[in-house]
């Protein structure tokens, strides 16, 4: 039987990697993907605890988070596409005018 803390550490690792990706990569798409990674880490956390306490609530929350991730991905990618059409770039540090 695998102790729950392993799962927590795993999710911590993924979370850290995701944060690093969000903070350091210039390419917005990869930033978005890192955010997905972070959400994933959170999911692992939730599922691990739901398994630990033997109730499915954590999994329900995980499902909600996946929904959220889907929405976020759709909107974010839409924004990126529109931006790319107008600015011909996908670099985060060139999107610094806070307006179109």
């Amino acid at each position: 039987m695998i102790p729950t803390e392993y799962y927590l550490i795993l999710s911590l690792a993924l979370f850290t990697i995701g944060v690093v990706g969000v903070l350091t990569r210039r390419n917005v798409i990869i930033v978005l993907m890192s955010i997905e990674l972070i959400l994933n880490a959170v999911n692992i956390n939730l599922v691990a605890f739901s398994h630990h306490f033997g109730s499915v609530d954590g999994q329900v929350f995980a499902i909600f988070i996946i929904t959220d991730a889907a929405a976020e991905a759709a909107v974010g990618l839409g924004i990126i596409l529109a931006f790319f059409r107008n600015r011909e770039t996908v670099l985060a540090d060139e999107m610094d005018m806070l307006k179109w």
């Binding site: 944060v19 969000v22 903070l23 350091t24 930033v31 985060a92 540090d93 999107m95 610094d96 806070l98």
Partner: protein, 690 residues
């Protein structure tokens, strides 16, 4: 109203609305309408108004003798404003949008709508081939509306509305052929000359409201009674004179008659309707309407009588020498209006209105007939190019002859009765006035028959190319002629005097409305004191009239060369009269050119002083000052601002480093915050543990 009125009396306010509606229709989208549609609409609307007028008249007759009056107040136009009258009393100034029908206005609307309808019918024939057909009828209906407003108004202000309305329409219609400079000039002249009178009229209205505290006709009598003015009160005299000046403007009396002859530039039906039958009589109507005031101002009445008489004579003398057929009629109109004012002046207001009515009939007929002649001669107006038309256009000839007899005052035509009523009153008032009127009557007969003879008799002097297509006018033009001819004969019989066994129904009918001066109240009805005197007067005037006719026959049929010799004989006088006493020139010299000079002077003043010194100087000064201010702004004000901005910019450098708009640096800050938060949390936990 206090008691529920019968239908027509309750709806007199509708009478002006029908022409207004069609006028609006014409002026907005008449361009697209068929000629026939326009005919039906315009003449039809006037006819409907006529029907309503007749109905109103009949239902008015059915009311008791002493309060024959119906008032419709649509709504309060100017809300009541309390103010101080001259004598210090408080009064409420109220002006309704109200209509009043009493015997006086009943007569007026009957004349206006009746003659107006006939002239509309006539116009459908006369204007058939003119451009701007819908425009003409739109103006005509607009005029009908304004005229009806004028005669139906129940207060001075609304009357003034109609007053100005008819002025505008007459301007528009005189200048109907606006591409003709003389026409547009004539229009402008009419308008401007009328302004003088209107100004006086307005002043009169103000003074009325200041002195009497009301401008409602119905309240004038009570107000006079309340103010117990004694006869000859200066205020009242002033009011009366101001009103009379207004009347002279509208009704073409000395000194403001000059516009009427020129107004003949307009289409003939217009001359017939506006400048013979209806509008020019507005002055008489207005004086009659205010008779209550006049009778307390004998001096004003004397002025009115004198001006009227002199105008009559003066205009007649000018009519004698005119050669333009319409000009002759114009001057005769002026002199007839003089008669009416003479009547008012001598206190025979009813007689004035009576003459107004009959004059509307025969003078309208004269103009229409003249129009028919001009029509037949394809636009020729000079009598020296006419003659021997009686066979070619018989109906026109006979109707015009009837009208001429009527205006000349041959028994028993309408004109005879009205004119002799006036002369009788004048005789009793003042022998001098009577003499003037008497001679004027003779001259009238003379120049009118001169017109007849030159136009219809003797040798034909018509140009040859015109000669062979002389033709009688279409039926639409002849029917009104015939109807008016009948009215010119019989129209006067409504006031058949007692000496001929009549009962002067008309006079009795009007009696309650017009106030009659005290001294002649009792004989107001039965005219001259002694029947004998009256008969004599009639015979005298008849004799003079016949004399005039014979003279005309002798001069213009028998010995046609004679007039020229006479003209040569008394050369300067003839030239004087022929050039209308140079009145226009004098006016030009005295007023018009002075006004122009004043305008030029003011213009020069504007250019040099105001523009040069004032505006440009101010501009230059402003520029100069602004230069200084600009320097100040640039270096001191802006300088300080920019200094502050630069300082802020410098100070904000570290903050900008944080706020760089990059998402990721914000995220980094989030992480920093998170770290700080966790550290604090651990600190707390540590404290808890120990």
């Amino acid at each position: 109203m206090m008691s529920p009125l019968p239908f027509f009396l309750a709806h007199i306010w509708l009478i002006p609305m029908f022409p207004l509606a069609t006028a609006a229709m014409m002026l907005f989208f008449g361009r697209k309408l068929q000629k026939s549609v326009i005919d039906v609409l315009c003449a039809g609307s006037v006819f409907v108004s006529f029907i309503f007028s007749v109905g109103g008249f009949l239902q008015l007759l059915s009311l008791p003798q002493n309060n024959r009056i119906a008032i419709n107040v649509l709504f309060e136009w100017l809300p009541a404003v309390p103010y101080h009258m001259l004598d210090g009393r408080i009064a409420n100034f109220v002006a309704d949008w109200g209509f009043q029908l009493d015997p006086l206005s009943a007569v007026m609307i009957l004349v206006v709508t009746g003659v107006g309808f006939l002239i509309h019918v006539y116009s459908t024939g006369y204007m058939a081939h003119e451009g701007g057909y819908y425009r003409f009828f739109g103006y005509l209906n607009l005029f009908m509306f304004a005229m009806l407003m004028l005669v139906l108004a129940n207060n001075f202000l609304l009357l003034f509305v109609g007053w100005e309305g008819v002025g505008t329409c007459s301007y528009l219609l005189i200048g109907f052929y606006f591409h003709k400079k003389s026409a547009s000039d004539a229009g402008k002249k009419a308008f401007i000359v009328n302004r003088i009178g209107d100004a006086a009229f307005l002043l009169g209205i103000f003074l009325t409201s200041a002195v009497l505290g009301t401008i409602r006709f119905a309240d004038i009598g009570p107000a006079l009674a309340a103010g117990n003015f004694n006869v000859g009160d200066p205020h009242l005299v002033a009011i009366a004179l101001l009103f009379f000046v207004g009347a002279t403007g509208k009704s073409a009396q000395i000194p403001l008659y000059v516009w009427l002859p020129d107004a003949m530039e307009g289409p003939t039906p217009v001359s017939a309707l506006i400048h013979a039958a209806t509008m020019v009589t507005a002055g008489v109507y207005m004086v009659t309407r205010t008779s209550a005031i006049y009778q307390l101002a004998p001096a004003a009445m004397a002025v009115v009588a004198m001006v009227g008489a002199i105008t009559a004579l003066f205009a007649a003398s000018m009519g004698v020498v005119q050669t333009d057929i319409k000009k002759v009629l114009a001057y005769s109109t002026v002199s007839q209006l003089g008669y009416m004012f003479l009547a008012c002046g001598v206190g025979a207001f009813t007689a004035g209105i009576f003459h107004l009515m009959t004059h509307a009939f025969f003078k309208g007929l004269l103009f229409l007939a003249a129009g028919s002649v001009i029509h037949a001669l394809s636009g020729e107006q000079d009598m020296r190019k006419m003659g021997a038309l009686s066979k070619k256009i018989p109906i026109t000839y006979w109707t015009m002859l009837i009208a001429t007899l009527a205006i000349a005052g041959i028994f028993p035509f309408a004109g005879f009765l009205s004119k002799d009523l006036i002369l009788g009153k004048a005789y009793e008032k003042d022998i001098l006035l009577w003499i003037i009127g008497y001679f004027t009557a003779g001259m009238t007969a003379f120049y009118m028959f001169r017109l007849i003879f030159m136009t219809f008799h003797g040798a034909s002097r018509v140009d040859h190319e015109v000669e062979h297509h002389i033709h009688e006018s279409p039926r639409s033009m002849l029917v009104p002629l015939v109807v008016l001819a009948g009215l010119s004969i019989a129209g006067g019989w409504v006031a058949w005097p007692e000496i001929f066994g009549g009962n002067s129904a008309f006079i009795r009918f009007l009696e309650p409305v017009v106030a009659v001066p005290h001294e002649m109240r009792e004989e107001a009805v039965k005219g001259v004191s002694s029947r004998l005197g009256e008969i004599h007067l009639m015979l005298l005037s008849e004799g003079l009239v016949v004399l005039g006719i014979l003279a005309a026959w002798y001069l213009y049929i028998k010995r046609t060369e004679l007039p020229q010799q006479i003209a040569n004989r008394l050369g300067w006088f003839y030239r004087l009269v022929y050039n209308k006493y140079y009145v226009d020139q004098i006016y030009d010299a005295l007023f018009v050119n002075r006004a122009k000079d004043l305008g030029l002077a003011l213009g020069a003043f504007d250019r040099t002083v105001i523009n040069g010194a004032g505006v440009n100087g101010a501009g230059w000064l402003t520029r100069f000052i602004s230069k200084i201010l600009m320097w100040w702004d640039t270096w001191i004000v802006d300088g300080s601002v920019r200094l502050g901005a630069r300082l802020v910019w410098l100070l904000s450098y570290p903050v900008r480093m944080i706020q760089d708009g990059l998402v990721q640096s914000y995220m980094l800050l989030i992480v920093v915050g998170l770290i700080g938060f966790l550290a604090y949390y651990f600190h707390l936990a540590h404290q808890v543990m120990h």
